[in-house]
């Protein structure tokens, strides 16, 4: 992430506190929730295996899924790129004369930049997830996969809502929610197009599984006469029964509840005799660079179930929040998928902005080895000469020295000669004076009286 973006974020103490408090809470909730499972690790391994198997045979499962959706009366569209997906959805809107669209939260729709494309064909779009709606009326961007306004405190939310609805100011969360509910209820009643994402798509039955808490997802998939479900091709799972594995992990990893309030399984549009439900169900399958990832070393990143656990566990994310990443996908997962989906050129800094502590790997319900991939991406940025030539030269020198014992010993002696001496209580002052600028925020440890090698040699010689 760029220094400026980081600096701006770090300067906003309120944002930092909000992000810190919320991520800590969710991370604790995850420990508690996962701790309640009889065999949390076993379940994670199973989830990882199911996803990996599906990815490795994605052509088969995708084919089966498409057949089942069509048999249930749905229509399936295939989008190679985000731009294609936008065009497809805009065409559906145009062909059906749809002018009022409601959207449930969908990171994929953010990824392709859907809203402007719909507006261009005369279809007004309203975000209906409470946080996303606030983001929309603010003209802002969401900062977290699961909780989009984690970066806003209550007063700023209150200002946004009350100004937008032109009502007297209130900071009461319940009252603000009521206001949003009443307003969005009218919006739902008028809407003719609903766009949702998909959490899991079941190949066996052509079923879309959508997990929500507020009820806006259900309204979006029920009220309008046309429902468009947009999904990356990696959302597939083989069997309906597989959902038991993922549903048990999703709630506990994301927000520490057993299940989201609404888990909705959709199979085809409205059937005869029913008065509600969409008349048309369109499933838009998005490749958008995923098939390329499928073919490479980073395939396992496609297992991601968008729980946000890695964000909540990451000390870097906790410190800077979502906007600093400059991408739709933030946090540890974002550091890997953003360069993979959008190109290393645009995101070459991201893989370096990590301490590689591995908390993300521990937290991930599908065991994505993000630290390994961050290191590999760093290597790729070096190979592509996207990193500073001085740093590359310095690292090459260090590498050469560490691999040659004689050179290493010589380097040690030179270092000891060059390092200033200082008594313990004066060390940090001296270190700052000598190294302050270069070391930045880091403290150089005080050197020991003698090198470990000499100490070791003496110990051995004593025996």
């Amino acid at each position: 992430m760029s220094d400026m973006r980081v600096a701006l974020t770090v300067a906003n103490a309120r944002l930092r506190d909000a992000v810190r408090a919320a991520t800590l809470l969710k991370d604790e909730g995850r420990h508690r929730g996962m701790g309640e499972l009889r065999d949390a690790d076993g379940l994670r391994w199973l989830a990882a295996d199911i996803k990996q198997h599906t990815l490795e045979h994605l052509d088969f499962y995708l084919s089966r899924f498409v057949d089942r959706v069509e048999a249930a009366g749905g229509v399936v569209h295939f989008a190679e790129t985000g731009a294609d997906a936008r065009k497809i959805i805009a065409r559906i809107a145009r062909d059906n004369g749809l002018r009022r669209c409601v959207k449930a939260k969908s990171m994929t729709s953010e990824e392709i930049g859907l809203t402007p494309a719909l507006e261009t064909v005369g279809c007004a779009v309203v975000e209906t997830d409470l946080g996303e709606w606030v983001v929309q009326i603010d003209g802002d961007r969401p900062s977290h996969i699961v909780t989009p306004i984690i970066h806003k405190d209550r007063a700023s939310v209150a200002r946004s809502i009350c100004e937008h609805l032109d009502v007297p100011y209130t900071e009461d969360a319940q009252a603000l929610t009521r206001l949003a509910r009443e307003h969005l209820r009218d919006v739902f009643r008028q809407a003719d197009l609903g766009v949702t994402g998909v959490n899991f798509a079941v190949a066996e039955t052509g079923t879309l599984c959508i997990c929500t808490n507020e009820g806006n997802g259900r309204f979006t998939a029920t009220r309008p006469r046309v429902h468009v479900a947009l999904m990356g091709i990696e959302k597939l799972v083989p069997r309906l029964a597989d959902l038991s594995v993922f549903l048990k992990l999703l709630g506990r990893s994301a927000t520490s509840q057993d299940m989201t309030v609404y888990t909705t399984l959709l199979t085809g549009p409205r059937r005869s005799g029913e008065r509600d439900g969409p008349a048309q169900l369109h499933v838009v399958l998005l490749d958008g660079g995923r098939s390329e990832i499928l073919g490479g070393d980073f395939r396992e990143v496609l297992r991601c179930i968008r729980c946000g656990a890695c964000l909540n566990a990451c000390p870097v994310y906790r410190g800077v929040g979502g906007h600093a990443y400059g991408s739709v996908y933030a946090g540890p997962i974002g550091m890997v998928v953003s360069p993979l989906l959008r190109g290393l050129d645009a995101y070459h800094e991201l893989p370096h902005a990590s301490s590689l502590c591995g908390a993300c790997f521990d937290a991930c319900p599908v065991r994505i080895d993000l630290p390994r991939m961050l290191v590999e991406l760093r290597q790729e940025t070096n190979r592509a000469h996207l990193t500073s030539p001085w740093k590359r030269a310095a690292m090459r020198t260090v590498f050469a020295t560490l691999g040659r014992p004689t050179l290493y010993r010589m380097a040690q002696r030179v270092m000891r000669f060059l390092l200033p001496g200082a008594p313990a209580d004066e060390w940090s002052r001296v270190s700052d004076a000598w190294f302050g600028g270069a070391a930045g925020a880091r403290d150089l440890p005080r050197p020991a009286g003698q090198s470990f090698r000499r100490l070791w040699a003496e110990e051995l010689s004593d025996e």
């Binding site: 969360a173 929610t177 499928l294």
Partner: protein, 219 residues
């Protein structure tokens, strides 16, 4: 290229798979790894405890007293307009208990009536003891909307329809012929914590969910 064939070709090329390649079976779903609640005594009690923990109220009554239990649950709050799911047995007689305020929510009611209702009384298909969830599959009429639109919802469930674990529910669903077009697994009142992490209920879906569990034996 935006066709099915083109997408599958790209995927097959990435996976270095050919169209005729064999498909090994998916990983076995080991019950011991997935199951959290075993069948047996106590699953109804567990269901009640988890449903309450999820923010729903639960009353357990003998089947014979169902109608009066429904009335007292509904009348405990604002109930100027009550919609009764026509798939409930005795739906007509339940609706009549509310006089002019009660209506059978069959296919003939209109949208305005749906949106004006304060309470819906719905027959749900199953309960899951592991999570305290109630499960409702779509059918004739306004089945999806009845559990979504009115701000208060009263769900009627037979204790015999409570399954131990989510995996049991999914086995049932996988065997359903046909699978309903819309199945909702509902675990609590609608909620959000988007505003500064403060939990708030009743966002778009019902803010109050009351479950009436009926014991067929009369226990």
């Amino acid at each position: 290229m935006n066709s099915r064939r083109a997408m599958l070709d790209r995927i097959q090329a990435a996976l270095r798979r050919g169209p005729g390649d064999a498909l090994p079976p998916p990983p076995a779903l080991a019950d011991a790894t997935i199951r959290q609640v075993d069948d047996g005594d106590g699953i109804v009690e567990r269901f009640i405890a988890r449903a309450r923990a999820a923010g729903m109220t639960v009353t357990r009554v003998a089947a014979a007293t169902l109608e009066s239990a429904i009335v007292s649950a509904v009348e405990s709050g604002d109930a100027r307009s009550v919609l009764v799911d026509c798939h409930l047995s005795n739906a007509q007689s339940i609706a009549e208990k509310f006089g002019e305020r009660g209506q059978l929510a069959g296919s003939t009611i209109d949208e305005d009536t749906l949106f004006a209702a304060d309470v819906s009384i719905v027959r749900v298909d199953a309960g899951v003891a592991e999570t305290g969830s109630i499960v409702c599959g779509s059918r004739d009429g306004w089945s999806r909307s009845l559990t979504l639109v009115p701000p208060r919802m009263t769900a009627v469930l037979d204790t015999g329809a409570v399954v131990p674990d989510l995996c049991d529910l999914l086995v049932l669903l996988a065997a359903a012929k046909p699978l309903p077009g819309n199945v909702n697994i509902i675990t609590g009142p609608s909620k959000t914590a988007d505003i500064e992490g403060i939990p708030v209920t009743g966002v778009h879906g019902p803010g109050e969910v009351h479950i009436i569990l009926t014991d067929p034996s009369g226990a």
